[in-house]
């Protein structure tokens, strides 16, 4: 399955985007997000970006006020996921132009579509920024 979920959480611990690739009930999601946020947000810059939680391994990275967290299973390559997070940020950057938390809040749908282009069913299917954004822009016009 590779990637199990992708979360974007701000410094206050509010979820700004949540994309799951396996079904969890609303209560399960809420509990999981709370636990992960508590674990990750207390960590410092000097500590590593991997946290084991339940059956997941969380790979996270902080960009300004936003934490990007990706839950993976043990099969996945942690460093590759870090690169993936960076790719997500760069892609959004290119689309929104210097992306910030507000962009994601107000264009949550766009963010979802971008992720959909990049990841399907937990597998990374597209890693080229232009290939990700072309369909998005075309769909905008449609």
């Amino acid at each position: 399955m590779g990637i199990r979920f992708i979360l974007m959480v701000n410094k206050q611990g509010q979820t700004r985007l949540a994309q799951y690739y396996e079904y969890l009930t609303i209560e399960e999601r809420r509990a999981l997000e709370g636990e992960i946020v508590r674990k990750c947000l207390t960590r410092t810059e000097q500590q590593c970006s991997f946290v084991e939680h339940r059956k997941y391994k969380i790979v996270y990275r902080r960009y300004a006020s936003l934490f990007f967290m990706v839950g993976i299973d043990n099969e996945e390559n942690e460093l590759a996921i870090l690169e993936f997070i960076h790719l997500v940020v760069e892609t959004m950057d290119r689309h929104f132009g210097n992306v910030c938390e507000l962009d994601i809040m107000f264009h949550l749908e766009k963010a979802h579509f971008m992720l959909e282009e990049m990841v399907m069913n937990g597998c990374i299917v597209e890693t080229s920024k232009s290939s990700i954004l072309t369909p998005i822009q075309l769909m905008d016009r449609a």
């Binding site: 399955m1 590779g2 979820t15 700004r16 985007l17 949540a18 690739y21 079904y23 609303i26 999601r29 809420r30 960590r43 410092t44 000097q46 500590q47 590593c48 970006s49 991997f50 946290v51 084991e52 099969e75 390559n77 942690e78 460093l79 590759a80 870090l82 690169e83 809040m105 107000f106 949550l108 749908e109 979802h112 579509f113 959909e116 399907m120 069913n121 937990g122 597998c123 990374i124 299917v125 597209e126 890693t127 080229s128 290939s131 369909p135 075309l138 769909m139 449609a142």
Partner: protein
């Protein structure tokens, strides 16, 4: 915006309005949300699609970020998906993929829409449908839409093809029969020129192979080519993962991939790929020394890097490699031990795991000492991690790593005194477990237990109550080893025990009961004490003969035992206070005895029986009466009950003990007393030794005939109906009712129940007598190892100060990891009672996942080409076939694969027998094809020729099979095993 009604478009809030509103109402967010939800509920019912779309959009937002229940919007979303406008579809499918799951009821209604969109000429519509399907797919959808996806797998549009590939994984999972239809086309995509398509395919295979690698071995050549040719790191990482799963199954494959992996490691600058190479080597290629050396060298680079991520991963890689190559850790041990004090708790944890992975029986005690010192200094969480892992490591496999149990028991005592210790439960169970399993350690166990019990400070820490419970139990159960039972009694009854929870208090009182019984018994039977101590056969070789000369010893000899002076001094005071009433001759003698006591514990055990005098016993009884008197009125049943037990016993014996004039040894008339009779009985009651009981013991008791455990008790009411008085209602209704009817009811039950139950118990007893099975005598199975080396040789400096652990441990591991000459043994390892092999490890029963088996079964069928379906017309055929083939698969799965796993056509036993030969032949026979440039080693050609000849021979034998394969003939390599690599 074409033609929304004026009212709707004017007054509807858009998603943006909603988000702005949410930002304004930070305080009363929930009321704002529920108000908006009411609006949305109204809007989704609107016939106008734009209004509906906006409503669905809003509810999707609320659902994904605020976790509101959006089930009411499920049907509107389906309606919206049918809209001709792309924008509407987009919203609808996003809503579906956020909130639907495979059990959502309305999915059924979506099937046709999905099919329509999958067949659409607009690639974005197809993409939307695929996206949604990959999230919500269930069995019905998968079955109904497999033909569409099959078509899309070879779509000319890259965008669609890669998404179809990613979706197929989910479809396979839901509907394994789809494998038969789509698998070949999926495999064809591996050779696609589009890197993203390859990436998607490889991801899918990576996932499939991680579940059940055997079936995918035949595809190794394709993957090999990707491994060699691809320059895309994402793809390479996935391919490496596939090989990590395949390589352990086929040694020849492992040999082939080492070189390209090494090539990647030298070439790549990407740490992710580098790490994947390392991980592949340490997990799957650990038999190849040169590769492991290269990997470990790279791990070292990771370890010294400043990036904590790399450090963490490096440690993880080490922990994978350590079971097979402990040298890898030895080379890096300095770093590992330094990491124990890293700032990052995760890194510390990894380091701890590594340290625990390298302990051996030789250095266990030293490493534990250092770790405990670390535990003292670190934060509570990590402290408990340390304690937990020490406990887990030491108790592994019934304490197999421990030689010196006395040491270990005292370590358990030490752990209890570490301020942050929260492992009470684990320590408790180990103390009791060791007490029952290891006879020889009991004296030390009692000693440790005493030290814990007499410390009033420990009673204030609720985390330690469980440990104290164990200490109390141990002291009561093995009181015969105690140096000073009276002191023990005081500890058990000290006022601060009021801090304990009642269940543990009950254990304390019960232990006090045992101690009292022991004291009284040894007082009353003091004459026989010496004799009995040897006849008790506790393996304490020193009997009466040893103890006599010691008694005569001058007091000067006490000085030798300086180590335990503190406790002995206590004893001294203690005894004096009790002994003052007794005869003066006795006084000096006894005094001497207790002072010697800290020496060999065996002699003390027999000696202290002499120290009870009438005065001390009376004092003891008084002490108990004052301590337990108030508890007799306790509200806690357990406490009250046990307190009464003790008090009752005292009442029984007290009178006679006080009345009978005490005489010197040798002139007892006690035996005739009632009290001594009672004490004899009591003592016998506690004398029986408790042993460990196998977890499965209960299971092995056959259920006697006539005992129905699973009978539904609901019937009871109808049965009792006849017997009961007219007032029949359930028992819980009204107390008086119940009491009225209870007499007759229970009588009836008794009548029914009595016979079988008495019969069953007698049968059980008989059975037990015959087999002696369930309450195992302690010698049932023991590790017969008398020549174990001591845990810690005194060569190493014992005095480790709390500081400078790091250097010390570094030095230490240096010494210990070099295999030591196991010479001068000071103490043999005591016997550890073990139960049957099922002790501890209970096999987790049936495998949970049958779908994986179904998938892999189908995959094997496809790869080995024995399916009868022409690949193109599956749409009509496979539904019919599915039921038939499913049964067949199951047979195939049950049979174990041949060792290579290449020959999966297990239904045919004749073929299965010849599997090793055949698979080998095939692989060499195909080697001739110049697919891989690396095949042109000398001699290869010749060999392959020879093999081919042999192959021809086999060909005849397998004729039937081969011809069937020939019929399909889709891709050259699918029917036979395409093992060019091997």
């Amino acid at each position: 915006m074409t033609g929304p009604s004026l009212m709707d478009s004017l007054f509807q809030r858009t998603l943006e309005d909603l988000i702005k509103g949410l930002r304004l109402h930070l305080v009363h967010e929930s009321t704002f949300i529920s108000k908006s939800l009411d609006e949305i509920r109204r809007e989704v019912r609107s016939p106008d699609l734009d209004t509906k779309a906006a409503a669905v959009q809003k509810v999707t937002y609320l659902r994904s970020l605020h976790g509101v229940d959006d089930s009411f919007a499920a049907f509107p979303a389906v309606e919206l998906a049918a809209s001709p406008r792309f924008r509407h579809k987009q919203i609808a499918y996003l809503a579906a993929s956020v909130s639907f799951h495979s059990a959502t009821a309305v999915l059924l209604l979506l099937t046709n829409q999905l099919r329509k969109d999958l067949n659409s000429s607009n690639e974005f519509e197809v993409s939307l449908a695929l996206q949604c399907l990959s999230v919500v797919c269930n069995l019905d959808l998968a079955r109904d839409l497999t033909p569409e996806i099959f078509t899309l797998l070879s779509s000319s549009k890259q965008l669609i093809r890669k998404k179809a590939i990613a979706t197929i994984l989910r479809v396979f999972g839901e509907y394994p029969d789809a494998v038969r239809v789509c698998f070949k086309r999926l495999v064809e995509n591996v050779e696609s020129s589009d890197p993203q398509t390859v990436s998607a395919v490889v991801s899918v295979f990576c996932e499939l192979a991680s579940r059940e690698p055997n079936s995918y071995l035949p595809l190794a050549p394709e993957f090999y080519r990707v491994l060699v040719d691809s320059r895309n790191n994402w793809v390479l990482i996935k391919v490496l993962k596939i090989f990590a799963n395949l390589a352990p199954l086929e040694p020849r494959l492992a040999k082939r991939i080492i070189e390209p992996i090494g090539e990647h490691m030298r070439r790549t600058g990407a740490k992710s790929l580098m790490f994947e190479c390392i991980r592949t080597i340490v997990t799957s290629l650990s038999d190849y020394d040169s590769a492991v050396r290269l990997a470990v060298a790279k791990v070292q680079e990771f370890l010294v890097d400043d990036d904590p991520n790399l450090k963490y991963l490096g440690l993880q890689a080490l922990s994978i490699v350590v079971p097979k190559h402990s040298w890898a850790v030895v080379e890096n041990k300095e770093f590992v031990i330094k990491s124990l004090s890293d700032t990052d708790p995760n890194i510390k944890l990894e380091a701890l795991r590594l340290v625990m992975a390298m302990v051996s029986e030789d250095d266990l005690s030293e490493i534990c000492r250092v770790l405990l010192n670390y535990a003292l200094k670190s934060d509570p969480e990590f402290c408990n991690e340390i304690l937990g892992s020490v406990l887990a490591t030491c108790s592994r496999n019934v304490y197999e790593i421990i030689i010196d149990f006395d040491w270990y028991v005292s370590v358990l005592g030490e752990m209890t005194r570490i301020p942050h210790c929260q492992k009470g439960e684990e320590i408790e169970s180990q103390l009791i477990d060791i007490g029952m399993r290891v006879k020889d350690v009991r004296p030390e166990l009692v000693h440790v237990g005493r030290d814990l019990l007499i410390d009033p400070a420990l009673l204030g820490n609720p985390f330690l109550h469980r440990v104290l419970s164990a200490a109390a139990w141990v002291s009561g159960e093995y009181v015969k080893f105690s140096k000073n039972p009276i002191e023990l009694m005081e500890a058990l009854l000290q006022p601060r025990t009021g801090l304990l929870p009642s269940s543990i208090r009950a254990v304390y009182i019960q232990s006090a009961f045992k101690v009292l019984t022991f004291c009284l018994h040894s007082y009353l039977f003091a004459k026989e004490a010496v004799a009995s101590s040897s006849s008790c056969a506790y393996d304490l070789e020193s009997g009466a003969s040893d103890s006599i000369p010691e008694k005569g010893c001058p007091e000067g000899s006490n000085l030798a035992t300086s180590e335990a002076l503190a406790s002995s001094e206590q004893n001294e005071d203690f005894n004096r206070s009790f002994l003052c009433q007794s005869v003066e001759d006795n006084c000096t003698e006894n005094d001497g005895d207790t002072l010697v006591a800290p020496g060999p514990s065996s002699s003390s055990a027999s000696l202290n029986k002499l120290q009870f005098t009438r005065g001390s016993i009376i004092n003891l009884l008084d002490l108990i009466k004052t301590a337990l008197g108030p508890l007799a009125g306790s509200h806690e049943v357990e406490v009250q009950e046990r307190a009464w037990n003790v008090l009752g016993l005292i009442k029984l014996v007290e009178q006679e003990i006080q009345d009978t004039p005490m005489q010197n040894e040798g002139k007892f008339v006690m035996e005739e007393l009632k009290a001594s009779e009672i004490m004899k009985l009591m003592h016998d009651a506690f004398f029986g030794e408790l042993g460990p009981v196998s977890k499965s013991a209960q299971e092995r008791v056959p259920i006697p005939d006539g005992l129905m455990l699973k009978e539904n008790l609901n019937d009871l009411e109808t049965v009792c109906g006849d017997v009961q008085l007219p007032s029949t209602c359930s028992f819980s209704l009204g107390k008086p009712h119940f009491e009225e009817s209870s007499g007759s009811l229970f009588d009836f039950q008794k009548k029914e129940e009595l016979e079988p139950s008495s019969e069953s118990t007698s049968m059980l007893a008989e059975h037990r007598k015959r087999h002696g099975l369930y309450y195992l005598p302690s010698e049932i199975k023991e590790t017969t190892s008398s020549d174990y080396p001591p845990a810690n040789e005194s060569k190493l400096a014992i005095s480790v100060s709390v500081s400078d652990d790091v250097d010390y441990l570094v030095k230490l591991t240096e010494q210990s990891l070099v295999p030591k000459k196991k010479s001068n043994q000071t103490k043999p390892r005591p016997i550890v009672v073990k139960l049957d092999e099922r002790d501890g490890v209970r096999i987790a029963a049936n495998k949970p996942e049958s779908k994986n088996d179904l998938i892999s079964g189908a995959v094997r069928e496809v790869l080995l080409g024995n399916e009868g379906i022409p690949t193109s017309s599956q749409g009509k055929h496979f539904d019919k076939l599915s039921s038939k083939t499913r049964g067949k698969e199951k047979i195939a799965i049950v049979q174990p694969l041949g060792s290579t796993g290449l020959l999966a056509n297990a239904g045919n036993s004749e073929l299965a027998n010849s599997s090793p030969r055949r698979s080998k032949h095939v692989s060499h026979g195909k080697e001739k094809k110049p697919r891989s440039p690396r095949n042109n080693a000398e001699g290869c050609e010749e060999r392959s020729y020879r093999d081919k000849k042999k192959g021809d021979h086999r060909h005849v034998k397998n004729k039937a099979r081969q011809s069937a394969d020939g019929g399909v003939n889709v891709v050259a390599q699918t029917p036979v095993i395409p093992d060019f690599l091997l």
